[in-house]
Symmetry: C2
Subunit: 295 residues, 2 copies
C-alpha cells in the first residue's frame, strides 16, 4: 500500500539511534530515510486489511509518502480521538507511561510517584495515571510555565523546576515523605538528586536518559543506597512488551475519550522542520508531544 504521512512523531529515543553503538535496536542507517513513527492516510492499497482513506499508525519514517506491506501498521479510529494522538497519549509514549507505572512502579494508594520530564508526552501520562491510582504525583519539569501546566492542568500535586538554582531544596520540600516510585526519563543531576529521597522498597523505572544522550553519562552514586533502601532499579523499553499494548491502549483511549487524560502538543510544520524539532526536543524546547505536521 501507499501511505501519505500526515504527522511524524519526534521522540527522544531517535537521538540514541544516531549513535553508531550497540544498543537494544540497530542504529539508523546513514543515507536511509530517518525512521520514526507516523500517522498516515492510505492512498492506494493492495492489502486486504487496509482500505483507501483509512488512517494508520506505524513506522512511516521522515518522508511524505511510504510504500509498505503493512507490517507493524494498524488502522486507527479517529472518530473520537484525533489522529496525531496515536503518536502520543494513545500511542507508544502512552503505553510507555502505562507499562513503567503499572508493571514496574505499581503504586499503592498514598504512595508518592516522582516523574521527570513531567510535561512531556510520557511523563504527563505517568502522573495522571498515578493520581488515578490514588498516589501522590510529584513532577520535575524545566521552567515555570511547564511546571504550572503540570500542576494546574495535568493535576500533579506539585511540580519542581529543575532549572531553578534552588532545585535541590525545592525537590526536598516537594517530597516531605520521599518517593516510592520514580519514573525517570532524563538522568543527570536532577536524577542523582532524586535518588537521595528514595524510600525503603522504592521502585525506579528507567525509561530514558535524555541528559546523557549527548552529554556525560549518569552514574549511580553508590550501590549502598540500593541495599539500604532495598530499592529496585529497572530499565525497560516498551517495544519489549507488545503483549501489553492492546490492554494499555484500550485503557488510555477510554481515559482520553472521557476527558480524564489531558495532553499537549508542539506541532512543527513541514518535513524540513523535523531535524530541528528533534534537536529542540532534546533541549526541552517542546511543550508536550513533539510532532511534525506534513499535510
Amino acid at each position: 500500500m501507499l501511505l501519505r504521512n500526515h504527522f511524524l512523531s519526534i521522540d527522544p529515543y531517535r537521538r540514541w539511534r544516531l549513535n553508531d553503538a550497540k544498543s537494544y535496536a540497530k542504529p539508523q542507517d546513514v543515507g536511509a530515510v530517518m525512521g520514526g513513527g507516523a500517522v498516515a492516510e492510505v492512498v492506494e492499497s493492495r492489502h486486504p486489511r487496509f482500505k483507501v482513506g483509512e488512517f494508520v499508525v506505524g513506522p512511516g519514517g521522515w518522508q511524505h509518502y511510504a510504500v509498505t506491506d503493512g507490517a507493524a501498521f494498524r488502522v486507527i479510529d479517529t472518530t473520537a480521538i484525533p489522529p496525531q494522538a496515536y503518536l502520543g497519549v494513545v500511542g507508544m509514549p502512552g503505553v510507555t507511561a502505562w507499562y513503567g507505572l503499572n508493571k514496574i512502579i505499581a503504586p499503592k494508594p498514598d504512595e508518592t510517584v516522582l516523574v521527570s520530564a513531567a510535561s512531556g508526552a510520557v511523563g504527563g501520562v505517568v502522573g495522571q495515571l498515578a493520581k488515578q491510582a490514588g498516589a501522590r504525583a510529584v513532577g520535575i519539569a524545566g521552567g515555570a510555565e511547564k511546571c504550572a501546566y503540570v500542576r494546574d492542568e495535568l493535576g500533579f500535586d506539585v511540580c519542581v523546576d529543575h532549572k531553578s538554582p534552588r532545585f535541590a531544596d525545592e525537590l526536598a520540600a516537594a517530597l516531605p515523605n520521599g518517593w516510592d516510585g520514580l519514573f525517570e526519563n532524563v538522568g543527570g543531576e536532577p536524577f542523582l538528586n532524586s535518588l537521595r529521597h528514595a524510600n525503603d522498597f522504592a521502585r525506579a523505572a528507567i525509561c530514558g536518559l535524555i541528559a546523557s544522550y549527548e552529554r556525560a553519562p549518569t552514574p549511580l552514586p553508590d550501590m549502598r543506597l540500593v541495599l539500604v533502601r532495598r530499592m529496585k532499579i529497572e530499565g525497560f523499553i516498551v517495544s519489549d512488551h507488545l503483549s501489553n499494548w492492546r490492554d494499555a491502549l484500550r485503557e488510555l483511549a477510554g481515559h482520553v475519550v472521557a476527558g480524564r487524560l489531558r495532553y499537549r502538543e508542539t506541532v512543527r510544520q513541514g518535513l524540513q522542520s523535523a531535524p530541528q524539532a528533534l534537536v529542540d526536543l532534546l533541549r526541552g524546547g517542546n511543550f508536550g508531544k513533539m510532532l511534525v505536521k506534513l499535510v
Copy 2:
C-alpha cells in the same frame, strides 16, 4: 527462659551495624552485648513453648548465656541436621540465598547465574539451587582452594578467582554467553567487571557489599547500561520477607537431609575468638559459614 549459647553466627552484616549511620536496622549499641544469631540449649524455662534440653535458634548475641522471653526464637530439630546448620544453610544465610535466587533472579533453565562469594554461606547455596533449577552456575571466589571447592564439591560449572591478576579475562572466558542472574554479596571491582557481562533482561540481586563496608563505595558505572540491557537491579534484606521463611526453610532442610545441598564451616573456639572471626570473615579468611563454638 535461660539459654546456653552453643554456636554464635558470624555474619558480614554485623560489620555494617557497627557504623553509626542510618540504615535498615539500628546500629549496635556501644557497651551492649554484641548482637547476632546463635544456636542455644534451653537451660531453664518458664515459657510454655520451650522445654529444658531443647535446642533453639534466635538472636542469642555474643555471650555464653542469654535470658529471653522467647521472642524471635524457635525450636530446632537436630535429629537429622546438626544444630549449627540452623545458622547457615537452613538458617538466615540459606533463606537469603533462596529469596534472592527465587524471588529476584528467578532463573529459567539454561540461563546463567553468576554468584559472588560463591564459597560462602549464602553464595554456596545460591549456586546449588541455581543448578537444581537447570541454570548454569558461575562462581567468583578468592583463591584457588575456594574455587576448587565451589566447582568440585558444590557443583558450580566454573569458578573464577577474583585474586587472579587475569580476573577480568578469566571472568569473560567463564561467561561466553553472559549472565542472566547475578547474586551479589561483595561489590567493588569484581562487581563492576561482572556488570559488563550482563545480558538483556538481566536481574541483579544485591544482597551485600562486603567490599564497601570499610573501603570505597561501589558506584554503578553508567545508568545507560540499565536501560540498554533493560536490566533489573534490586537490593533486598531477608528479614523483610519473613512470610517466605517457612517454605524456604522446609525446602532447604529437605535438600540437606537428602544430601543435595552441601556446605562447609569454619569453626573458631571460644567467645574471645568472636571479634577476630568477624574481622577474618570480612577479609575472606573463612571457608564457608563462619561460626564460634562456645560449648
